[in-house]
Amino acid sequence: MAENTLSVPATAAPARRGAGPHAFLRNAGGRLLPWLLPLALLALWQLGASRGWISPQVLPSPHFVWLTLQDLYTSGDLWLNVHASLQRVLVGYAVGSALGLALGAAMGLWRPLEAYLLPTFNALVQIPVLAWLPFVLLLVGIGEPLKYILIAKAALVPVTLNTLQGFRQTPVALLEVARVYGYTRRQQVLEVVLPHALPTLFTGLRLGFTKAWLSLVVVELVASSEGLGYLIVYGRQLFQLDLVMAAVIVVGAIGYAIDKLLDLAETRVSGSQAATRLGVAGAGARV
């Protein structure tokens, strides 16, 4: 992943990395290195399956999983379940993060509200989504609202906390400058506090999505009749591990793709932030 410039037992001289035919080979080798382990594992797995070392009941071969995945795709089952899952997660996430932004901003801008609300919020946060599940289940039944509520709750927590933190970390110096220039409260919030809070806010939104996706799988594992989590449970019940694995792969791939997308958006936002803030950032103490 991230190429860190320093290696800990660093004794190698940096000048040795010259051009030449070796550099190209080394470069290609470096690019291939990350694939070594997964390919080796995959090869071992396939070999083990085809030689009959492992029973397909316990671990189906990669080829079989791939066939199942293709089958899911061509039969349209994949799209059906992905659609159900995505809809759930998007609705829940939208509601949860909107509420979280509002709640975090309100507490961030108005300290008395924080004093009244935050302790209760923090206490409720201690109870994980899975412990809320039976409670909400008894209240609203096993339908879609159950999933929306739990996913929204999962997204709400990090979004609220990060929004609050973002609103609280405006440098005093910037606020003073704004005051000197006679900014109104509204201007202060829109032009000073909010731009400064944006990167932290984005971190919260991204974290919120990760939590929402995680909760989606949990909720679907426990209570649903469609969706990727259901596909996993269904495969498990029929002892079709190929189906389970195919579904796990799809869950991982979608989670990964959306995380990368949000990551991209985040670096974009904080990048433009850094450009506009250049010169002022770092000056002044944090609140």
């Binding site: 992943m1 860190n4 410039t5 320093l6 290696s7 800990v8 037992p9 660093a10 470096g30 290195l33 990350p34 070594l36 382990l37 997964p38 316990v58 008395p112 004093a115 009244y116 609300l117 935050l118 302790p119 209760t120 206490a123 409720l124 201690q126 109870i127 994980p128 899975l130 412990a131 809320w132 599940l133 039976p134 409670f135 289940l137 008894l138 209240l139 996706w213 995680l214 799988v217 949990v218 594992l221 426990v222 989590g229 996993i232 449970v233 495969g235 498990r236 002892f239 591990l241 389970v244 694995m245 579904a247 796990v248 869950v251 991982g252 989670g255 990964y256 995380d259």
Partner: protein
């Protein structure tokens, strides 16, 4: 806490401190108090008649009977034993893997990307596979908990080691430290806060995973099973009590880890 100065009479300090504590906290207590009052009134007045609306008194009765009969203790001790076992295994493995990833660049290039992909897979998605491979008993649960604890420890250990300030490493090189000395006196102290964060997260994650494991691998005792039981028998009082206990345990772990962290930080400052 700290000793009081001699020239000041110690007697009036106590109520003042108490009032200061309350003065800072009372606003936070308003909302829960109002909520409990409203809940109690709602249950009492009987405007909504549904078996799901249990009064706070019923919940307290359930709590008392669970505590007195020893059911709570049995469930909680089973859950905690599982949690701590999984946490210990996951943390030890995580420290080892994280250290290897952080210290050996080649190992990192080979294993790092695979690990990063692996950790993207939603944790709970492993449960069905684990249940096939390890059954529904404690082996499966502890395996799952170890997995939950492993990930944050690896990530934070590796990050902590890799983020050792270059200047510190240079100083160590100038002083002619051996690799071992550098590791022990430079890298490790510098990475300690990050490693601690990882262990702390592992403690929290493994508690969440304990509830998850008990919920999805339904077998045996545990506080998660208490919740399921309450849910299946439409006993809201049991569900609320279970939620409360789970929240309380999570909160205690948080508080414990934070106190420990503060202690360590002070120790480090004292040593410096």
């Amino acid at each position: 806490m700290t000793t009081t100065p001699i020239d000041r009479p110690p007697a009036p300090r106590r109520p003042a401190a108490w009032r200061a504590w309350l003065g800072a906290r009372w606003r936070g207590l308003v909302l829960p108090a109002a909520a409990i009052l409203a809940w109690w009134a709602l249950a009492r007045l009987g405007w909504v008649s549904t078996p799901l609306l249990v009064s706070p008194g019923t919940v307290l009765d359930t709590a008392a009977s669970q505590i007195v009969s020893g059911q709570l203790w049995r469930a909680l001790s089973a859950s905690l034993a599982r949690e701590l076992t999984g946490f210990a295994i996951g943390t030890v493995l995580g420290l080892a893997l994280g250290a290897l990833l952080g210290l050996l660049p080649l190992f990192n290039r080979i294993v790092g990307p695979s690990f990063n992909t692996f950790k993207q897979i939603s944790l709970f998605a492993w449960i069905p596979l684990i249940s096939v491979w390890f059954g529904l008993g404690d082996v499966a649960k502890v395996t799952f908990l170890s997995l939950a604890a492993l990930v944050p420890v690896v990530v934070n250990t590796c990050d902590g080691i890799r983020n050792t300030p270059a200047t510190l490493l240079e100083v160590a090189r100038v002083f002619g430290y051996t690799r071992w000395q550098t590791l022990l006196h430079v890298v490790l102290p510098s990475a300690a806060p990050s490693i601690f964060t990882g262990v702390y997260l592992a403690l929290i994650y493994s508690w969440l995973a304990t509830i998850g494991a008990e919920y999805l691998l339904v077998a045996g005792h545990g506080i998660g099973n208490t919740l399921i039981e309450g849910s299946e028998h439409f006993r809201m009082d049991l569900v609320i009590f279970g939620m409360f206990v789970i929240g309380l345990v999570g909160w205690s772990m948080n508080a414990l880890a934070r106190a420990l962290e503060r202690r360590l930080a002070r120790h480090r400052l004292g040593a410096a």
